[in-house]
Each structure stands twice: as C-alpha cells, then as structure tokens.
Amino acid sequence: MGTMERILSKYMELPDSHRLAAYRQAGGYQALAKALELEPEEVIAQVKEANLRGLGGAGFPTGAKWSFIPRESNKPKYVVVNGDEGEPGTFKDRHLMEKAPHLLLEGTAIAGHAVGSQRAFIYIRGEYVKQYEILEAAIEEGYEARLLGDNILGKGFNFHVSIYKGAGSYICGEETALLESLEGKKGWPRLKPPFPATWGLYGCPTVINNVETLCQVPGIILNGPQWFAAIGTEKSKGTRLYGVSGHVVRPGIYELPLGTPLREIIYEHAGGIPAGKGLKGVTPGGASSGVLTRDEIDVKMDFESLAEIGNMLGSAAIVVMDEETCMVDALHVISRFFAHESCGQCTACREGTGWVEAILRRILDGEGVKSDPDLLLDIANSMTSNRICPLADGAAMPLISFVSKFREEFDFHISEGRCSVGAHAAVLSGATG
C-alpha cells in the first residue's frame, strides 16, 4: 500500500481552517480555477475516470450521476448538497462543514460547472446550528472574493449558493424526500423513476451529492483522476472519513483509503475496546448496515467486500459493541429509531417498523413468545420490497443480521425472561417515542 493521502484531513487541520484565507493559503480554489478552463464534459470525464463514488451511503458513481443531467434541456439545472447527515453513528459531514466549508463550496461550484447549473442549495440538518453559521459565513466570504455569485474568478461563470435548513427528519436524507422538503412539503420520498437528474428540484434536472463526495472533487481536478484512482481498491477508489463510535478507546474520524480492513480501523486507529474487553458485534456502515461478529472483522472496508458478505459500506459509520452488550437491547434501540423515522407513506414500512419495535420491546419486558424471532424475520422479509424508498431495507438489514447471528440471546430472553448477558434489569424499555 502506498503513502496514505490525507486528502480531506489536511484542510480540516489548518488553524482557522474554516476561513477563506487559510483555505486559499493551502491551495484552495485552484481546482475551481482549473475546472473553469475545462469543458464541462471534460470535468465529468475526470470524475468518472477517478471513479469517485457517493459517500452518503449508496456509493453510486458520481461521474455517471453528473452525466445523467440532460445538457440540452432548457430548464434550469440545480446542484443540491445533501448535508442532512442522519445515519446513526455518522458524523463526518458535520466535521467537514465545520472545518472545511470552503472545500465543500469549491466542490459544489465545480459540480455546477460540470452539469451546467447556476444554482445550488445546501440542505443542512436543522440540528447543525453551529455548522450552519460557519457555512453561512463561508458563503459570504466566497461572494466577497468572487468565488461564488456572478462572474466567478472573472471567467463568466455564475453560480449562486444558499443554505436550506432542515427541521428534524432522518428521511429527508433520502434524495427525493430531501427535494420534497426543499419544495416546502413533508419529506415523503418520490417514486423513481423519474430520477432527480431528469425530474428533480421544482421538476428540473438536479444533481444531489453528499457533502463528503463533493469535498473529494477539488483534489481530483487539481491532481488528476489517476492520482485519486491510485488509492483504494480496484472498484472503490480514494480515501474516505471513517467514523468510529461505541465501545472504542478513541472514537472519532479517521481518513483512510477505501479497502482498509475493519479490524485495523477498530484496533489500530480507534485504539481497540476499553478495558481490553472482547468485541461482540460491529455495524460497519451505520445503523442500516447489518451487524458483523468478531469473526468477520477482517473484511476490507470498501463497497464490494462488504456487499459480498451481505453487508454494506454505507456511510462508513462504525459502531462497536463489546462482549457485555445485550444484542436484543441494541437491536431494539436501532428498531425504535426506524419506527420513529419511517415517514409512514408505505404500509410495509410503517406497519413493519412499528411492529418490530413493539415485539422487541415485549421481549425486553420479559413478555416475548417463542415464535417472536421467526416473526421478526418474517416481518423483515415483507419490508424489503413493496416500498418507495430503502428506509425499510435499512431497518430490515440489521433486524435480520442481529436475530440470525445472535439467535441464542433472543431465545434466552424469551424463555428465561431476562438478559443472558446480564446487561440490564428486567424491564428496560421505559418510555418510547
């Protein structure tokens, strides 16, 4: 493996990193200047050649997504930045918006040039108050320095950016739900097709990208796609910010190449598990990914390797659970989240997530029945189709993996009416929302 590039981290570690002066001194906005000398098609070609993939969760090839925007359409085109980070265990975009807002703005502007857009909205979750203020100040700096707005860098490119604040809703991180929210409605995902590239914001061609994805764009333009593609694996290129939390000595953000083994991230970078306890389970890609056992953590953290074992890289939110964790309890917390966040539009998801939470709660309350684990698996299977968006899939994946891989804990809770790990007293659930 070659030298690890700190593509994103180097901007976040500068003193006053959020200020334009610091960013420019580190070479910021040179990529935008270079991009504006290229034809839009050439910019897209470079992002394609770099094989940058979406870092919000789905891993869709970014260059391909940009190429779907119909250039010949005379509708205005929009760039929408997905800053609605909400996948449990994910906090990388918060760091990027707070410490490197100009990196994000530069990437967004390059995307605008590539797809022929003159208007961007940054959708930021409502809870990120501090980051909103920092971004707002950065946009103001950008306008003052003619890096945003009209006639950027004197090159005749107009690109206007404003921020749109969310108001508390996980589902608004789903692209089409985000668009609905941006249009002043509740965040109910849309039926696809049509996809946002053809029918997006206000019915116009729209590209929506995750914060971190856009932050990777300036480096690709400045250093060339081969530089980026030299890092990572055959199909998962570059670096990304892995977020580690839960039972680790050093929770935090770690920028590493795609394909770094999960074991290395947990034990070398995040310091392993406190008090030398053993690892029981880890969700590698946020709450929506399944759980991996301690025998599975040699997997490489890239899109393909995790998909091959029935899991997913997702938002690279690594949540570590030690040997004293009750897996029934952990699954209940995850399921309660999905029940709360289901938008309610699709019956299988709305009813399924609600019933899963209720069944897990009764198991924890000592009132589970023998058939409950199989009932849970049955419900999970009914949720993975018959739905407009993959929230239900995200709820089903952990449900299936926790119950399958830790079946004996569920059976013990049901037959004995208490926890096999001794992790909690009999009645646990307390109040649920």
Partner: protein, 160 residues
C-alpha cells in the same frame, strides 16, 4: 392576542421568499422564522402564516406534524434534546437519561412546571465521538456525566 410578524421579521421573510420560485417552496424556512418569533407554530400562527403566504393551513399543519424541530405548543425557555440512539446508548446514554429525568422530575419528555426547560428525546445528532451527548438550545454537549449535566443545567434551572 393577535399574531403578527415584527417589522424586522417581515423584512427577513421577504428576503427569504425571494430565493424560491413560489411561497410554498419557502414555507419551511418561513415557519422556522415564525417559530423564532412566536415560540411555536400554534393554530393561530398557522392561520396567520396561511393568510400571509396564501397557502392552505393544512399545508402548514402537514409540516408541523412532520418535522420534529417544529413545536406545536410553546416549549420551555430552554429546549434540551437528549440522544437515545445506539452510539450514545452504548456509552451510558440510558443512565444519563434516567439522571436527567430524575433531576427534572420529568418522565421521558415534558416541560418543568416553572416553564424553564423542555426535555425531549432525540435520535442521532451526529456527534457520536462525544457520546453520550445532548443538544441544549442548539448547542452540543458531550461526553456527559452526571456532574457535567449538573454544571450545564443547574444555572438554567435556578433562574437562567
């Protein structure tokens, strides 16, 4: 009591709505502004904004019932969101929740009788490296211990 935006708020609303093709597209930011002005989106506020923007009140009710950061009823002077999701839960989130509930005399969610503080349960706030954590009036605090909770909340509870 008649609901009306201040002059400054009306000006902010005008500039805000200029960014969007239709008033409906600016409804969520308009409601966020209304909540800043009036404390919550009560039925009276719904009717006021409906008339001002010429948008059916049902469309406003749609947003208020969907988005967790919009309040239908006046919250306390301070609003506390306590994270209950997995990374915080793994690092003692439930114990902190129990401590805060005992401290405030509130079960799960509610407002203190003196109206100083509203406690709400929250899903992941995106600060898992500082678990267990909470958001008070839009500011993040963590990792929490009972002592740290006291240091943050006592000034508020005693008269801030």
């Amino acid at each position: 009591m008649s609901i009306e935006f201040s002059v400054a708020a009306k000006d902010r609303l005008k500039r805000l709505l200029e960014q969007y093709p239709t008033p409906r597209n600016g409804l969520l930011p308009a409601l966020q502004l209304a909540q800043e002005e009036f404390g919550c989106i009560s039925p009276e506020v719904e009717d006021y904004v409906s008339g001002l923007l010429q948008i059916p009140a049902a469309a406003i009710r749609e947003l208020v019932s969907f988005y967790t950061l919009l309040h239908k009823e006046p919250p306390g002077k301070h609003v506390l969101h306590l994270c209950r999701n997995l990374p915080c839960h793994l690092r003692g989130g439930r114990e902190i929740q129990a401590y805060v509930e005992r401290k405030l005399g509130i079960e799960a969610e509610g407002t203190t009788p003196d109206g100083r503080l509203t406690l709400l349960q929250s899903e992941c706030l995106g600060a898992c490296e500082d678990a267990p954590m909470m958001m008070l009036d839009g500011k993040y605090y963590g990792p929490l211990t009972p002592e740290y909770v006291d240091r943050i909340l006592d000034p508020i509870l005693s008269g801030g």
